[in-house]
Symmetry: D2
Subunit: 302 residues, 4 copies
């Protein structure tokens, strides 16, 4: 049976949990947050919903020992207000470094041997800290990273062409943050390079939008929740069903020596394989720069 | 195709919309709120999610004219803080009377001829006002009413017996508010009367829990959202598919002369039929009392 | 993760498998049939479908050793032509006794310790043989039994009243075969006894329909598949999610000393509890008679 | 609300209908077949399933007049045995030309103005005849065409690389039949051209598999059903939700002057746009050859 956990029940974590419950994705669900009242309230709300749903999910709360035989943990702790206020997800770095170390230790103590999917920001850095603190193999700890930014790119490119975002392939790479970039050489629409649809100037404009998108949403509603939760759940499903899913996630990329948004194949054991892209020199430089930004922050902890 | 609308995009309305989008229930979705920034942000968040979802939903915003050919409107406006702070959903009566009149008029002007499912509180009163203001036939305007409270009753009774809430049938009747009551004579578990499982004292204790349940959740997380949204969506689906669904909703009950939580059959035209229950004298009295409480408030408007 | 198996890939077994694949219910699926060509073809057909589905399912074939860590096995072997031709599901008794013994032994050898849900006919007898042959505790081996016939009863009663079958509660009890009967004392619609809706004569007529229903379908299309597969999948989901689901299944009922269709609570370990009904004397007699019919056949094997 | 129809209830049509019912995709479903007994039996089987499903679907049978306000018709009539026996889908040409003309006329008489998705074989020719006979605009009549063959290509390429078929993009073009071909210049895996993964010889071998795949399945089980039904349903959903879905379907391609498998964008009005591909000369020649094969057959009717 599918046993899953969500750690951190803010807007994002709660939406992840709701998706897992309302669509019958989890059979057993462990909810953990420092705000005990919130966790208990969410559990009750889900259980009040259940007589109106076609699925049953066993919900447990606040018990790290339950993680021992969990298949997938989704971490979504943090202080989004800081990120939204400053327009920089590294505004959560200090608090979430502390959170990640604490949570990571407790996960380790539980004997957990599954896959962690981190949503907490700054995503790449927090994923890295969780991997180190839990001591799990790198492949078993990944982050949503630019999986969301790539969806935003697909959305804005699709919109600009009067098409659905799913008709757009390609990647946003780098930090799930301001140093991210669209690797336009990888982007294709309807089986054609993106350059057949837009001029370089237009691409430059379009290229800013994925990174801006998150703050546009956050400024309007105070946070982002539905798209990021959807991304987290999709990756969790890829792990549960060993889907060999190909997409950009925050994973450890040897070439740049850090966790960073880059395409990989995701299956039961997390990242099966990081898939090397053929990038332009400019894109390579941007990736390195973005990776360095993440590494500098991580180094500052030592 | 299924064209739906959500008016009021607070926690509940947004969760309703997310459910409709993430499960592909709506083909076209109109979102309306007085907070334009919030609506635009939710739309973007949904559209950012779509490249990761298997469904496409056309999302439109802030345009009452779009309601003309909508199948189902879910209304979820209001000021939940007032209800939570006071522990009485009639704390929202003044503000939501105003909202309901405004929204109702605009719905009427749009030429809408579908079904309205009201979630806004105080649910029975607001549903009544929406019906009057829109001029739609009574059957086409209903509220979630005690559909949620009944789920809560199923949940707490199920829990007390170590069973799933779906094994419990029967109804919470009356106001979706403090004067509601469990009609224990209608409640059965595993094909047996509830009195085979609990003493009268135990039932008295259990009977308080559904009404308390909402505030327990709201006190823990500041509002309730998942169970109520699930109830609203389930009724909307019953309308869309003409499901002849039997359940307790806020509907106009002739015997007591007001909208109130009572079992009905719900189909394409809203309430097909109010189903008379055989109640005990005590239950009849409680229902009347609860109905009077609603009527008094509605009368105070005249 | 959810690992499931289907043994017997005729119309029913294949439909069960399609449901598990197309709705992403299973993560891993083991398919077994004596007709190897058929199994391989179904696997290919499912895999050809997958690029158009939102789910990934790992499909394995013909390997009993894979059952070791399977959560739920659904058995659907048999020779439906014999049943349809004769109008009696015991026409498959001889062949399926043989099948059940063979299959049961191989399940046992695999080290399987999950739950078996039997669909093969005559359902109650085959479920009994599977339990004996596998040596699994009685609760871990159940059959769809009158879960389907009860759905048929709900359907015909609902139809007669212009309502949805889900508005009808109550049970068909006894053999999943010609000696089954509707226990009208348990049947209720809209929270009222069925006798408020129909005369005794009408009930007598209606009562024949569930048993006839299967043959009506089978005569028209050569077999039945969709309703029975839906029943099997629903029970499997109840097991996977430990749903404490209350419904009529083929389970061992102490009072009558055999597997027979009777209400029970189904969870992770199969039948958690057989729930005693209060039946009329006539119903008790019918149940005993139906149970005896099953027992006589089972005794004839010794 | 979503009103859909399936004409032709063999293995494929019935599986399409089951998918629409079991996943709550249709609100109203019209089933039509020359074998009245079969249709009635399928309807009963679906209705027997409904009390165990979370969805309600109104099912109507054999009434062409009901098509008037249907959104999408899926046609799946034919004699698959002829195709399987001969290994050539044009073996059904004679019978299905007749069927298509009859069905097309009746659709026209009903006043239907929605979208037809044809599955019947030979798919491209039958789609063409349905378009002519119904007099509907070309965009409103499309066929599954090489949408299925492309899924098979994705499956076999994915398998050869130990990846999921969804990681493979590109197209099988031409006839949904023996003259189809993989346009390898369009095929990419993990954002790279297929030629980085396979030699030309290997591609030649792989290229035969999609066309063979159907017969491999059909030889093993007597027909194909799950993958083709899944393809038909996915296109129907694209129409219902105006998804602007990009994929290969059987559509009228001006350059080659016939219905043939080619990428298009599918939305509420059927084919929004045929998307021109940049093909190699060899691929262009193959496409023309395949188109000619279809045209010759269609010309033979005149």
């Amino acid at each position: 049976m599918r046993k899953m956990a969500v750690i951190g029940l803010g807007h994002v974590g709660a939406t992840v949990a709701y998706t897992l419950v309302s669509q019958g994705i989890a059979d057993e669900l462990v909810l953990i947050d420092t705000n005990e009242k919130k966790v208990v309230a969410e559990k009750l709300d889900f259980e009040d919903a259940m007589p109106r749903l076609p699925y049953h999910v066993e919900i447990k709360t606040q018990d790290y020992a339950e993680l021992k035989d969990v298949d997938v943990i989704i971490t979504a702790f943090g202080d989004i207000d800081a990120s939204v206020r400053t327009g920089n997800r590294f505004a959560e770095f200090e608090i979430n470094t502390k959170n990640a170390v604490e949570v990571g230790k407790k996960i380790k103590e539980s004997g957990f041997s599954g896959v962690i999917i981190d949503i907490s920001n700054p995503c790449d850095a927090v994923t890295s800290i969780l991997q180190e603190t839990t001591g799990l193999p790198r492949n078993q700890v990944l982050g949503t990273g630019t999986f969301l930014d790539t969806a935003r790119m697909q959305h804005v490119v699709g919109d600009a062409l009067g098409q659905d975002g799913r008709n757009v392939e390609g990647f946003v790479l780098g930090e799930h943050g301001n140093s991210q970039f669209v690797a336009w050489s990888t982007v294709r629409v309807n089986n054609k390079p993106i350059t057949e649809f837009f001029t370089e100037e237009e691409l430059e404009e379009l290229g800013k939008k994925p990174a801006e998108g998150g703050f546009k949403v956050a400024n309007g509603k105070g946070y982002t929740s539905y798209a990021i939760a959807t991304c987290g759940v999709k990756l969790a499903q890829a792990v549960l069903s060993n889907a060999h899913f190909f997409g950009p996630v925050s994973t450890y990329v040897e070439e740049v020596g850090t966790y960073v948004g880059y395409p990989a194949i995701v299956g039961a054991k997390g990242v099966e394989k990081v898939v090397s892209l053929v990038l332009t020199d400019e894109e390579k430089a941007k990736l390195e720069q973005s990776a360095n930004y993440i590494k500098e922050h991580l180094d500052s902890l030592k």
